[in-house]
């Protein structure tokens, strides 16, 4: 594993915590250099401090808002100038508000589409312009969700944004394949993050009962699947959505 991503340079958005932080950590453990993006740079530095010193040097924190076109363009350009290339992009940044139909706030709906869909497109569009000029193209991984594939009560808007991520992944894969840019998506199932600590344990157990493997995912499960898509092991794979859900019955 230590050399799986050796020499590769790329970006992981929403890296200050949870799944994004673990993806970044696992990637540097596999030999990559990661430009770890988040809006919360203080949280990011706290996380980087927890890493081994050897790994810290390969994590480069970058603070920008993926919904701000100017910031995205300028920061991507800086990365290109500094590293000379961008081999991968993991579009992980996302926000989630769960609201029942009839109680959906327009403001939250707009925020979710801004970050989960428009921000993802902004990053994909900008980074693919760099990758398209590289001899070896690149790999883009969009983090979607099982609810984007199957839906879930209380998550109408969130599932719609993640369904959009799945659809845009497939279209981008077709358009970018001639430029050797692969675009795939990971659809995590129920995953243990900090936010879950506040969850209702009884309801949580009911959901775990639907997971054939008998446990919820941990962020490293998602990170490993991302590493496959970013690595050359998947060089002939594009336009795919990989469920990382422990074989869940929904």
């Amino acid at each position: 594993m230590k050399t799986l991503l050796e020499g590769k340079v790329g970006i992981v958005t929403g890296s200050a915590r949870g799944i994004g932080a673990m993806i970044s950590q696992f990637f540097v453990e596999c030999g990559a250099t990661v430009y770890a993006n988040d809006r919360n740079i203080e949280k990011m530095h706290e996380w980087i401090e927890t890493l081994d010193k050897d790994l810290q040097k390969n994590v480069k924190p970058i603070e920008f808002d993926i919904t701000n076109s100017d910031e995205v363009r300028k920061e991507i350009m800086k990365i290109k100038q500094e590293s000379g290339k961008i081999d991968f992009l993991v579009n992980n940044a996302g926000i989630e508000f769960n609201e029942l139909i009839g109680m959906i706030s327009k403001s939250n709906m707009e925020k979710m589409f801004q970050v989960n869909v428009f921000g993802t497109i902004e990053m994909l569009q900008t980074v693919s312009r760099i990758m398209g000029r590289q001899e070896n193209g690149g790999s883009i991984v969009n983090i979607s969700s099982m609810v984007g594939l199957r839906g879930n009560k209380g998550q109408l808007v969130y599932s719609a944004t993640k369904g959009a991520v799945i659809a845009l992944t497939k279209s981008a894969a077709k358009e970018l394949a001639p430029k050797k840019i692969r675009v795939n998506s990971i659809a995590p199932g129920l995953t243990k993050t900090d936010m879950m600590d506040a969850a209702d344990l009884e309801k949580l157990q009911n959901r775990i009962n639907n997971i054939c493997m008998g446990r919820i995912a941990v962020p490293k499960d998602i990170a490993k699947a991302c590493a496959f898509f970013v690595s050359d092991l998947s060089e002939y794979v594009s336009g795919q959505v990989l469920a990382v859900d422990g074989c869940t019955i929904m």
């Binding site: 076109s69 991507i76 569009q125 900008t126 312009r129 398209g132």
Partner: protein, 79 residues
């Protein structure tokens, strides 16, 4: 090579034209060889040559040889 010469060379190589043909009428609308595919190649060449990254609106509005010079000036390219 000056920036103007670099700019002209990109057009001459991409569209296979002589320098004398590069004037105010050389545009997306008036030049058959300037299609959407060539347009993206032009943008890529300009970005690589001048070390910039265009805003999407500027890519869409980059409709002529002369207008392009004004757009490039916005990014600090001096002519």
């Amino acid at each position: 090579m000056s920036n103007l010469e670099k700019y002209q060379k990109i057009f001459m190589d991409l569209f296979q034209v002589e320098k004398e043909e590069l004037n105010e009428s050389f545009s997306f609308a008036g030049e058959e060889r300037w299609d959407s595919v060539t347009h993206l190649s032009l943008i890529a060449e300009l970005e690589d040559t001048f070390g910039i990254m265009f805003e999407t609106d500027d890519i869409l509005n980059y409709g002529s040889y002369l207008n392009g010079i004004n757009i490039l000036k916005k990014y600090g390219v001096e002519f």
